[in-house]
Symmetry: C2
Subunit: 391 residues, 2 copies
Amino acid sequence: MDRVFVVGVGLTKIDRFYERSAKDLFNEALFKAIEDSGGVKPEALVVGNMTSSVLMEQDSLAALLADHAGLKGIPAFKVEAACGSGGAAIYAGYSLVKSGLVETVAVAGVEKLSEGGTSEVTRALAQAADAEYEVYYGVTFTGLNALLARLYMSKFGYTRRDLAHWSVRMHEYASYNPYAQLPRKVTLEAVLDSPIIAEPISLYDSAPMGDGAAVAILVRGEDRAREIASRMGRDVLVELAGLGFSTDTVDIGSREDLLSLPSTRKATIEACRMAGVEIKDIDYVEVHDAFTITGFVSLESMGFAEKGKSVKEWIDGRFGKGDKPEVNFSGGLKARGHPVGATGIYQFVEATMQLRGDFPGFKASDPVIAATHNIGGVGTFSIVTVLKRYK
Amino acid sequence: MDRVFVVGVGLTKIDRFYERSAKDLFNEALFKAIEDSGGVKPEALVVGNMTSSVLMEQDSLAALLADHAGLKGIPAFKVEAACGSGGAAIYAGYSLVKSGLVETVAVAGVEKLSEGGTSEVTRALAQAADAEYEVYYGVTFTGLNALLARLYMSKFGYTRRDLAHWSVRMHEYASYNPYAQLPRKVTLEAVLDSPIIAEPISLYDSAPMGDGAAVAILVRGEDRAREIASRMGRDVLVELAGLGFSTDTVDIGSREDLLSLPSTRKATIEACRMAGVEIKDIDYVEVHDAFTITGFVSLESMGFAEKGKSVKEWIDGRFGKGDKPEVNFSGGLKARGHPVGATGIYQFVEATMQLRGDFPGFKASDPVIAATHNIGGVGTFSIVTVLKRYK
């Protein structure tokens, strides 16, 4: 069957846009993606979004966005898998073009957290957790991740200072990324001195709350992708070659082991198998690091480091420029930002740009195979994509 | 490419289940569908749902349901397209199996409106409308449909009594349906005397608020479908042969014409084209009738009657037993019930059962081609399926 290619991408800067609507942000990202594809009109729209029902009091989101963008009439629906909504939208969007239902699709993520105040947003994000088994008892989403961080530190002998190294490097990368919400460097001391949100997680261990929209346009068939690349003066194609999607319990109390994410492990293996590559073949990866602890556990669960070892390796300089894989040169959720349902699409767009060599920030070392890793909840949903560059 | 077949279906009765959870309802419908398929294990789950974020304060719904049903690990996500969420889940689920990502999928709808009181539910349902252009001014979802009803009555010279004939016939059919929320007959007078919700729409012109879950299992490949049918002692196959999905503006003030639904027209044409049938070939149809006016406008928009003529034809006895098409022998949203995001799957399951000849209520006259029509908002989303029976 015909393969699926990424032919156009677009991002907004991530920020708190109190005076811009979700429609407006979506339009900016969509029009950039259409322009980047030389004018491909999407025949369908899949939107990853988590909080529109609660913070915007708006369902029917996908039709609202399609109409506002001048695409009234096309099939359009919203996909929700908590913070993994963007990744799930890629999974659904890929299948729409691959199945032959449509020839082109826009996979989008949009989130407008600034519609709510801090307590409303904290409550909305907690809906990723189990309403009956977890949230009912008052735990926040940061609180759940703090349990995981404390266990990890205790089991493997790490300190808050050790974990903080993730944040320092992400902020360094973000300082080069024009789309990043927090494009500024921080020191280890600044991370350690920042206010505690849920011990041991501090403000600077956490992804910020922000708004953003990201769009990627997928088409079926190498000929069409090649024709678009040629028209746009690009000498490379980017194929969406592998997809893996797996789920776990919502409540973390039912897990056998909190220190790895089986859904991430399964999704990674599945995506690599589908793409016909080994995990060690991956040159570049964007991993889901909503908190510093999440970045490390994600790297280990994907198979890039042994359990409990990634922090030491990170401090020793692994996963940086020139290593394999290179990790999160966008700045990650931690510093590029985490507009929840849009995050999976941000990662996907950034990885595509790194493969094409036109990412306007810290550049990867000429990668050929890239992966993205997007999770919802504490590893409740994991979606992994594998992208391949062809000359 | 291999075709897609419906091999197992399951429904719960629709009611206000104050003491049962969404998980529990989903399990009942899923296990019935798995049993009905002779034990097919779904490799993925797509859940249509509108209100879980607002009424249950629960996102991550799809993973929650998958885990509770013993399907932890499979790809699972929620799809939202307001009241058309079920139809959109069928569209996404079809593409997952057709694309080859998975071999089998459960397309499900689940809604638990009894989690909220009447005013909360009214507010949640209004989120189908435009938050900024409509709901902000205080209009409810019934209010929007009332505008449409008044215009229709005024333009084509009908009365409340005329429209009430829809309700009478739906309640008659529902009285035979063991899954129906309102399985009891009503008289024209009872409809006219029922309390006004939003003039000219009365209580008995409206679908009731209820909870329910519905599941259909889809597989790719005729051989597999035939093997399952044979094992289950069935002499027919049901193919999901056509799908159409179209969207319109969310706010009805931006429409050129309120008295037809262009998204429904487009989706119907597309579904018929894909299935290789004409609209006049359809033997049986389940149409979306959230209000009596919606039933008539839907029939006209699909192309089964001329604009403004369906009410007169209905009163004269058209669309009943022995006619072509036969319409809504389930009792429709009006009397079978309308568990919002599950409704599209209810229709799909009922049409499948009618084709197989095992619908446990009012039976269609041996149909070979059936269609379902599910909308979200006031025709903002329209999803039409065409099902074919093979010996």
